[in-house]
Every structure is written in C-alpha cells, then in structure tokens.
Symmetry: C5
C-alpha cells in the first residue's frame, strides 16, 4: 500500500471474484519453477517448466515443495490452481502484490501471504515483496514476486546430511519459511536503529538543517513499516487458534517462538517511533534555543547602542543656543555618561540572567 | 452527517416510529423501478411503474431484483413495504438519507444500508449516496437516492452468457453489490493519495502559503471519510456472525474477502491521516526555519551597523572641544576601527554558527 | 456535574442511604402531578393533588402514567415511594438532580434516569434537566425538575384516535419517552454544528481575536456534552441485555433503533471535537502566518535603511580632514551607492523568497 | 506513591513475605483501640488497651467493631493477626502506608485497603491516609494511620435509637465505611473545581504570570488524584463479582450505588484534567496574542521612523556641494515628504490589518 | 533491546531453531555453578564444575538449586539441557540476552525469563541482565549473565535456622526469586523519582539550558524502563491462570502480591512519564516567558528612542533656512518635547500592561 506506483494496475471494481489478473508492477521475465522433493533419506531439486507440474501422490512419504519465482504469469497461476484445486480467491490474492499479510484455512490446504521488506530499502523507497505459501498434506507451494532466492538458507539446511528437518512434513517447512521471513524484519529494524544512532550522535554535536528531514524520514519509514508489519501478528495467532490437521500440534512451541519475535518487532517499531518523537522534540528545542540566543544578542546590542546613539544625536544638532557645546569638559563628560549607561545596562542584563 | 445541508429536513422528535418521511435534499424526479429476473438459463430486464410491483412467487427458481432510483417517493416506499411485508423502521431508514451504514436481520429478510462516496467529490464537498438493500429468500430490493446507474458492471456480468452468477440466489447478488460498493472506496482513497503526493512534491520545492490550507483540507476530508466508512466494518462482521438461512454459508469466504478489503481501506484512511500529520509538521518546521533565517539576517545586519552608526554619531557632534576632530589621521583611523569591528562581529557570528 | 451551582446542596457524606434529601437548585414552586390513564379505547388526563395518588389496580387492562413536575418536594417523593413500594436508593436518585443517566432493574419495576439538555443553552451556560422514569407492569411514573411540558408530542400521539400506542403497555410508552429524549440531542448537536459553520465562514474571511475564544467555547461545550451524554449508551445496552418481563421483547427492534441514534450522536460529538481541533490549528497557523509577515516587513525595512543611515552618518561627521567632503561629485555618487545598495538588498530578499 | 517522603522507609527487597515492618512516616503516638459492640437492641463503645482484644464469640448475634488508630505499632498489628488468624501478607499490607487500594477475599474474612485524601491538602501537598478494613462473619476490624476520627458520622448513626443499621451484620457496616470514604472524594473534587473556577475568572480579566503555575499545579494535583483514586474502581467490581457469604447479596444494590459514585468521581477527575488542558491552551494563546501585539507595535514604530531618520541623516551630511541645502523651501518640503511617508506607511499597515 | 551494542551478535536468520548460540556482549570469564541442596532440616551449598551436574533424584524430599553465573558458555548450557531434558528453544532463549521477559509451561518444568535493571545505570546507560529460571518438580535452575550475586538475600534466608522457606518446594523458591527481581524495580523507580525531584527544585529557582536535556534524559529512561518492564505483567498473570502441579495453589496469594507490586511499578512508570511531560511544559513556558520579557524590553527601549533620535536628526540637518535653529528657546523646548514623548510612551506601555 505504501509502495504504490502510479502506473500500477488495480483490479476493476465490480469484476467477478476469482478473476485472475495480476496487480502490481508489470514484469516481463519468464516465471521460474523449482521443485524440491525430500524425505528422511533423499532429496532432489530441479527446475521445471510449467507443463511438468503435477499433484504429487499422497502417502509416498515424500514432501514436494514447488517454489515459483514471478507471480505475474496469470496463466501459470491459473494452471497451478487447477492442478492443486485451489480456490479462485486464493489465486487472485497470489496475483495481487498489494494484498496484505494474512492466514486462511481452506480445509484441504492452508494459505499464507507474508510481506518481506528489502532491509536496505527501508531508508529510501521501501521495497516490499509478497510471499504466498500454500501448505497441503504432503506438498508446499511458495510464490514470490522477484527472482532473488530468499529461501537459500532453508535449502542449505534441507541439503545438510541427516537434517532433522527432512523427517518432518510440509508444516515444519512452512514454519521455517515463516520464521525466516519474520526474522528478516529484525535486520530492517536494525537499519532504522543505526540511522537513529547516527542522527542522535550528530544532534549532540551540531544543529543542522539536515537533521529535521532526516528525522521525519525515519518517522515516515517507521510508520510505513508498522503498516506493513502489523497484520503478521494475526497470521500466527490465528494459525495457533486454528483446529487443523495440516499443522501438527508438536510445532506449536515453534510457532509461539515466532510469535515472541513478532511481539518483539512490534515493540521495537513502537520504540523507534517514540524515540524519533523525543529526538524531534529535542531538535526543535535546540533550534528554538539557538534562535533565542540570536534574538537576545540583537536585543542586548540594540538596547545598549540605541540610547547612546540618541545622546550623540542630541549634540549633533545645529541649534545656535546650546550652551553645552561650548563647555570644555562636555565631550569627555558625555563619553563618561555613555560608558556608564552601557555598563549599567550590562549589569541589568546580567542580573536578569539574559547574559 | 458530514454532508448535511442547512435546508435538510429532520424527522420531528417525538413522532411515531415507522412514520414514512423522506429526510434529505428535496428531489422532484419521478422514482424509477428496474426489475431484473434471472435463473441459470434466462434473464429479463425491464422498467416498471409502481403499480406493477408484486411479491414474486417462491420456489420458481428465479431471482427477482427490483432496483429503485429515488428514495424520496414516500408513497412508493410505503407501497413496497406492504407488498414485501417490510418493518416500518426499515422503511423509515430507507427514506432517511442521513442513516449510517448498518446490517440488520429481520428474520424473513436481511437489511443493509451502505454509503457510497462520489470519488471526485472527496477533495471538494463530499457527496454521499445511501444504498439500501433488502435480501429475501428469492428476491432482492435495492434503493438508491440518485439516478446514476452504479450497478452497471453487475448487470453486465449477469447478462454474460453462462454467467455462474445466475446459478446462485439473491445472497450472491447481494455479495456482488456489497463488494462493488466497498471497492469504490479504494478509488476514493486513491484520490486522497494522489492529492497528498501532489502536495508532497510541491512541499519539497517551495514553501507557499497555499500548502497549509491544502493539507488541512485533506485532513478534514480523511476525517469525514473515516466517519462515513467506519460503520461498514460492523456490517460484514455481524453478517458473518449471524445464523441465517438467507445467506448461504458457501459464500462466507467471499464475505471474508470483502472484510479484508474493509480492513485495508480502514488502515489506508489511518495512514492518510498520519501522513498528513507528518507533512503538517514538516511544513510548519520549514516555515519556522525560513522565519528564523529572516530574523537572523535582521540581527546580523542590525548588530553590525548599530554600533558603527553610533561611532559615526559621536564624531557628528558639534562640541567645540573635540580634539580628535582636528587630527589629520582621525578619519582613516575611525574607518579602520569600523571595518575591524564589523569583521570581528562577523567572525563571532560564524563561530556561533549563526551565519 | 457541569452545571454545578456554587449554592447547590450536596448530600452529607456518611448519611444513611435512602435519606430523602433534594440535591440541586432550591425551588419554591408547588410540585404538580398529571395522571393519564388509557387503554385501546379510552384515554383520560387530569391533574391530581398529592393525596390522590394510588397504586392503580393490576389487570384492568389500563396503563396509568403519573407525570410529576418538580422533584424538590421530598415529602411527595417519599409518599410516592411508599405507594408504589420504591427502593430508598431510587427515591434518593430521583431527588438528586446531579445523578448521572442510568438504568436499573429492581425486579418489580425498571428505573431510568435520563438527562435532557436545553438546546439553546448549549452555546452559553449548559442547562440540563434530569428525567426519572419508573416502569411498572401496568403503570409508569415520570419525574422532571422544571415545569416545561417536554412530553407534549407524546400526549398528542396518545390522544390521537386509534393510536396504536394505546394498545401497548407502559414499556412502549417508556420507549417513546426514551426516543424523544435521545432525539432531543440531535437538535443540540445541530446548534453546535451551526456555530462551527459560522466560525468557519468567518475564519475564511478574516483573522479576528474573537475567533479563538469562540472556538474554545465550542470545544468546552462539546466536552461538557460528551460528559453528559456518554452514560446514555449503557442505558440502552443494559436494557437490551436484561432478562425482564417488564419490557416486551417485541420492542427490541425499537430499542436497537434508539441505540443507533445514540451511536450517531456519540460520533457526531467526537466529530465536533475533532473539527474544532482542526479549526484551532488553522486559526493558529493563520495568526502565526500574519505575524511572520509583520516581522518580515520590519526586517526588510530595517535591513535596507540601517546600512544607508550609517553611510549618511559617516559623512555627517565633523572631522577636519575628510577629503570626500570637498569633492564636487561626492554627494550624487553617494546617493547612487545608496540606491544601488537598496536595490541589491531587495534583489537578495526576492531571491530568498522573503518578499 | 505520590506522597512519598524522602525519609520514608521501604521494605528491604528479598525479605520474607509477611515480615511485619511499618512503611511510612515514623510516628511516636501510642496506638489507640476503640471497640463498638452492637445488636438491634444495644450498643456499647469503649477504649481498650492492646491486651484486651479477643476474638468475639460467634453466634452471639452481636457485631463487634474494633477500630485501631495508628498502624505504626508492629507488635499490636502482629498480636491482632494472631487473635483473628489473619494472613501475614494482610498484616504486611496494613503496616505499609504506601499500599494501593485493593480488595481481597481470604475465605474466612474480606480485606480492604482504601485511601483517603485530606480535601484541603489537594491544593498544596496531597496528604493521604490508608484505611484498612477486615470484615469477618460477626466482627469488623478497621485500621487508620492518624488520630482524626473520620468515622464519627457512622458512630452517630449507630448510636441513633432504632437505627436499622444495628439490625444488619458487619457487611452493612463495611458498606457504610466504604460509602463514607468514597463520598469524601467528592469534596476533594469540589476543591479542585472551585480552584479552577477561581483561575478561570482571573483568566478572563487579566493575563498574569501567576496563572501558568496555578494551572500546572491543578493539573499535577488531578494527575496525583487520578493515580490515588483509580484502584477503588476494582475494589467494588471485584467485591460484586465475588461469591462470598461474608457480604450479603441483599446489599448488592448499595454497592452498585457506591460504584455509580466511583464512576462519577472518575469522570469528574478526567473532566478536571481536560478543562485544565483547555485553559492552558487559552492562556498560552492569550500570552502569545499579547506578545504579538507588542511586536507589531515595535514594527510599526520602527518601520515608520527608520526611513525618516535616514532622510534626516542625508541632510545632516557635510558635503560642500549639496545644492538642496541652500534652497529656501528645502526644509519645509522635506518635512512634508516625511509626514506623507509616515501617513502612507500607516495607511498600508491599516490596509494589511496590522493596526 | 534498548541496550543493544553495535558489536552484538544476532542469530543468523534462517538457522535451525534450537541452535545454541550466545547472543549478547562477548564475555571471557569461565561460567561458575553453585549448587544449594536443602530440606526442612539441612542445607548444603558448594561450587561445582560443569561435569558434576546431575539430575537430582526425585522423591528425596530435597530441593536442589543450581545457579549458573555466565550464560555465554554454549557448551555448558547444552550439557545442562541434556541432563535436565530441556527443550532446544528454552536453551536458545537462555543464551539470548536480548530475549524479552516471559513465562512458559513446558509440562515437566516451568520456564521464566526476567530482566533486572541495575538501579544506578538507569540515569546513564541502562544496564540490564537476563535471569532465566527453570522450575522442575524437585529442582530449580537459575541462570544469570554477570557475576554479581543478586540472590544473596535469598541465600541468607535459606541459611537461617528454622527457615520456613526450607519446608517448601522449588515453587516457593521461584516465588522468592521473582519477588526479589520485581522489588528491585522499586529502587530503579526511586532513582528516577529522586532525579525528577532534583530537576523540579532546580526548575523553581532558575531556568538553565541544562534542564531540557536532563528532562529528556529522564523521559527516554522512563520509556526504556517501560519497554523492559511491561512484559513482566504477563509472566505473573499467565502463571496464575495456568493449571500446573509444579506451582502449588497455596502460593497463589503470594503471586497476587507480586502482581500488586507489578501494577504499582507500572503505574509509577506512567506517573514518571506524565510528570516529566508536565515539567517539560513548565520549562518551555518559563523559557518562552523569559524570551518574551527580553523582547518586550527591546521593544520598549527601541520604540522610545527611535522617534527621539529622529527628532535629534531633524535638527542635525544642515539646511540654510531652518528658522528654529536660531530661536533661543528651541533647544530647551525640544528637550521638553522629547521628555514628554518618552513619558507618554511609558504611560501607554503601562496602560497596555507591557511594563
């Protein structure tokens, strides 16, 4: 929502639900499909073309993981929908890169949408990527917009010999994907924290006009991040509350652990926002303080010299009958009066605490 | 409520409930009635006059949809109430164009009020239109204030050959109407977002006095929109919670999808309000920054020249005994003192960071 | 609470509960009692003196409505309490004009306190009046502080021939009273809305010092109104939740309708408060904008003339050896320098966007 | 918490629960014990020394009320604990004058802590006093810090001949004590309200530097009061929810009445805080308004005279060749120019609305 | 979270759950293990090396408490995990010094993480220490980051002859540890309160530029403290709600007492934040007040002398034909005019209330 492009397409209001229509940036790359099949003993991984996708046989004791790069291929998504008997609304959500994160139980499979944020983009133009996951009894489908292989660490763990992960079903695989995506946000928050620390250090040294836009930028980013991240909370709590055979109860503790991380991230975002608010207050106070000093300086200079200039003006007048002008001690006396006036003024300012 | 006209009528406090009395702008057009009858095989659509409305026979396997343009015709609404046996409070609500959006289960029929916002009006004077929908077991009644055919896309889908829509009952038709109305708000929010983007771009280039009223206008509009939109949330959640045979459980997933859109719209409105708040803060900071620069310039000019002018004033005095006046090097020396004073001042300002 | 007079009496802390003691402005008028008896066929209405009040016989099919003007008559209230067997705490609440709105189920009767606000008083010194209602199986008692006949519209509807109202029991009568009192608040809010519109129009034309107190007055009034109105929400929701034979379930829809109005009023009050906040922000921005213009004008005039005055001061000095003074082109040259300086300054201001 | 003295003792972290240790101001007075025994027919009241306290016999039909002045006597409290078999945590709470208000059901007795605020202290240094009450089946123990007889009105009602109070058990006595303590807060709020009215009247007449600290003082006091009062809400709601034989269900209506008062007090405190906020905003606007007037005056005087002084400076120069100096009409003409300039300036200011 | 060091390690996203990896400051000290075994009659305490840890035999009637200093020893934690059959996620949490406080029931043992704050660090760089506690049926394991013996008071109570504590199981020991850790926060809040009192006293005497950073520092600290402390609330409420044999119901009252303390601490933190907010408002008002006085002084001096200087300038002009210059009374008359002007100005300022 926050990364809306002006040239994005939006689904036409009033069109039938389940109409397959890609919503998002137009892409031209060919979608790629990687299939990973594993059980406790074996693992195979290869790239397929779209015609090779089949519903894997049940009860083979093997977990089949299809990972699709590129959700802009409406035909491919429709085809997969038919093979795996996926509801039209699910396919529509997969194609819509503006969908919010959510979890839905469709009985014979579970459906997740999760949003990833590119950590380095958090300080400039926030880039998000929707990851859709469908968890069936013996298969898992995952969809991503771009081509970057974000699940590389998971593949490595699967490949490891004697990986306990291979002894579990697609529910455990889904958990590892969820966990990876959520943990990604910690890095995003670290970026924000580092930026805040930078600004804070700078703030202590000098008040510059760049500080204000920098703070507002972090504030806006934290708002956007909160907007993107907040729906994840429901994903896990609803999954935990759900009565489903597709997610083994033995992994509940792992889900609670993910939930703890989500809470931690949520509170970190709130903390970032509060910290920025305090820093903004400090900055504005510092600027106002500096301005007050400028004004006080003006006041002191002006209030000292304005009366003195008036006195000089008096004796610059050209009246014929000004007896003081002819006295020999007038000039030094007047200078004395001027110095005294200035000193009295300065003493007054000091007593008032203005100096 | 936000679109109240000063010349609107309000129902007299203390009048009997169910008194049929139109509340809203006075209109003179004749109300129009369009009836659409369809089943899986056939569809007919024609305009009726008020005397032709009848309760369609049950069990004919046909869905009858009466759409009434113009809710100001109290006689027509009363007549329909009698034919379809509608509760007086429902008729009263249909006539009252200031009613808030709501859902009510009257046992033998369901009643919805939904508010539409004219997208282009969101930036000027917000124009809303109340759509009332009554869903019976084999019929649907819909009422709208104006004459614009907002349900055109639905009619087109119904007309399409082999439309699966025609195989479902009036509950599915009601869902498509709800979905259309809710999706309309996305366009409204897009208008606000575009306006914000415009102001944001302008804000980066130049601080103009027009920025402030523009921002407050968007803020007011977002407040009004929130006020209008917020009751829709309850419409869907109460319908989902309800135990009724009039809305088939098979469409629950579709309702949840509408609910997701409502949440998305709600969060977008909040995001618009927060963004405007941040932009207001930025604007005010920029203005204050500019003003501070103006004041600093004044201070620097004044504090440099006020002491120098005083010095010039001293030697403009007409005392007889001012020995300096007669020295040959006085004038160039004084000029040197003046330049030095100015340079010292400038150095002081630079060290203080005021320059 | 908001209308507390300094000369009000407060019940002594530590006195026994049920001690009958009037709390409020002292009044000297004699309390008046109007009894209205009706059934589907007949209606009689007459004024009684206190000795004539009796518990109407049950099962006569007649509804008896006693309406008492003036709750300051402690003896009368005590007497009614004995005749109708009313709990001491109820009598105490009826006498206490500072009680908050509430609903209580005492088994053999229901007890309501509702607060009315005099619409025209909302903009000056808010005047409230407590209406207490006791609903028995075949009778209704209503109590009000003042003498103004607020239930006149209800009496008219009762008097109407063939009024369906006469066929229902005291519960329906109670509903009409509740509905009337709640609808009264719509008028109060209209007054606030009109005042806001007035101020808003004025704000667009001119910034006057009167705007600020006017806005704060509306804000204070909205706060007071919210404080008075908010307990009504619970009155209806608790009545709806309650399991009681004294309020027929057939009127539940009517109560839900009242509830809708209460929600509407609540949101209107919130909307008023938010609107006033935005208008205050706009006003303060306008004032600050105007002040900034004043300051900029000072700065421009001062920074242009201060250096020029200094130059004039230089050549007003009386040194003997100032060669420029004797040159024939000095004067026009200096004037040229001065005009150039002023023009350069103006160009600088324009480039900086200060002009 | 808000009345913490720097010399207060705090219980050592890590000490055993139930360690009897007085927390609060050190006091040296001897604790006093008053016992009141009553039934429907008789009442006796006398002072005891600590050795005379005994557990009163059950089933005697007599209510025994021990009231202890001075909770600093750790030995006495310990002794009472043993006689009445009171839990160590309860004794600890009685001794700790910093405990917050609460209600706890210990099965064989109920335990209350309530906080009283000295009304006259609310505007200076808030003084609170903890009242602990233990309600057994046929006895009541009450403990207070100081020596002031706060329950005098209750004793008077008990002493009254044929007091219905004497026919009830210790639960009704506990209710009267609760009611008295809660009603006390109404007086405290009256003090705050009166103070606000005073400041409000003053604010209308004149802006003085004393207004700001006065407002902040009231705000701080309201915050402290809210902090002290808020836990009382739970005391009553938990007692009402509780299933206990020690508090007869027949007094539930009385407790609901106390609850109404608590709600009223809570809303009054919130209203006080909101009112102070609005008054602060008004005050700051008034001060800013006054300052703006001062600045405008400076601007007008300065911008009128600075150019005129420059003109005078021009003709104060001593150039030899200044033809204007010799013209006879120069002086009156220049004066005319000066007056015109000043008038034009004034007209400009008036048109701009600065005058 | 708030004490994050830049050189902290974070667990790699995507790594397997239960991977033992220390998160926090790198430490080099050797971890120390203290075992305390006790029953009603005996107590022994000694230091072990890691190989000596064994699962204590059940049903021996003895409580075994292992306390481990230093959670950076991944091998040791893994070893303990195997001996006591602890879940991998628990071990991971023990090693992660950035975990938030929590409670989890693992069936055969209960797991707590609690955070301690070093009281003296609250005003500078907040130092926290994670305490992890595992409560089994007859043993308790506690883990802390540093080497400071925070549980010394507990050991002393256990050592005391006839300590009733020794007659209870590990659940009571866990309660005493919880109570100690929570009570520790009271000291932390006292530090903040004392700091606020210091600043408040200073604020009454003089406005210094040091006040602002001092207030913001306290505000930031209170925010950090709230962030650290808030999860403790859930620890106790979840433990109370839990149905577990590992925590005897007889200690429920003690847990409720801890809960009261948690509420008290939470409200104290809120009170600290609110107090700081009010003080910030007072400070900013005082500064603004002082600045206004400076500006008023400037205005008064400038507006008095600028017109006078202009007058002096007039008669400093060198026109040949200025008749006033030759009048004998011109000079004293002008002086009189000047004094009168100044006095009129001063009177005007006084009447306006600017003086």
């Amino acid at each position: 929502m926050t990364t809306k492009k002006k040239d994005r397409k939006r689904k036409k209001a009033g069109s039938a639900p389940g109409t397959l229509q890609h919503v998002g940036e137009k892409r031209n790359e060919v979608a790629r499909i990687i299939v990973t099949e594993y059980n406790a003993d074996e693992l195979s991984e290869r790239e397929l073309h779209s015609g090779q996708i089949v519903m894997p046989p049940a009860d083979s004791g093997t977990v089949t993981w299809y990972h699709i790069y590129g959700v802009h291929d409406e035909t491919l998504i429709g085809q997969i929908g038919q093979i795996f008997n996926i509801h039209g609304l699910v396919l529509e959500d997969i194609l819509d890169t503006m969908s919010r994160s959510k979890y839905e139980n469709y009985g014979s499979y579970l459906f997740f949408i999760l949003k990833m944020v590119q950590p380095d983009s958090i300080l400039s133009h926030v880039q998000t990527e929707n990851i859709s996951i469908i968890v069936g009894p013996h298969y898992l489908l995952s969809f991503q917009e771009g081509e970057h292989d974000i699940f590389q660490p998971i593949r490595e763990r699967l490949n490891a010999k004697k990986s306990t992960m291979r002894t579990f079903g697609p529910d455990y695989l889904a958990y590892t994907l969820l966990d990876l995506i959520i943990d990604h946000y910690l890095t995003v928050i670290d970026r924000l924290d580092e930026r805040i620390d930078e600004i804070d250090e700078q703030l202590l040294m000098e008040v510059t006009p760049q500080t204000l836009p920098a703070l507002y930028q972090v504030k806006k980013r934290a708002m956007v991040l909160q907007n993107i991240f907040s729906p994840h909370k429901n994903v896990i709590t609803e999954l935990l509350r759900d009565e489903t055979d597709l997610f083994s109860k033995q992994f509940e503790l792992y889900l609670r652990d993910v939930n703890d991380h989500i809470n931690q991230i949520n509170e970190s975002i709130i903390h970032v926002r509060e910290t920025v608010m305090v820093m903004l207050d400090i900055y504005l106070s510092l600027v106002s303080n500096k301005m007050n000093n400028v004004m006080k300086f003006l006041t002191i200079i002006a209030t000292i010299f304005i009366p003195l200039t008036f006195l000089a003006g008096i004796y610059g007048m050209n009246f014929k009958y000004m007896p003081e002008l002819d006295w020999p001690w007038s000039y030094p006396l007047l200078l004395l009066v001027m110095v005294t006036t200035a000193l009295v003024m300065l003493a007054y300012f000091r007593r008032k605490g203005w100096l």
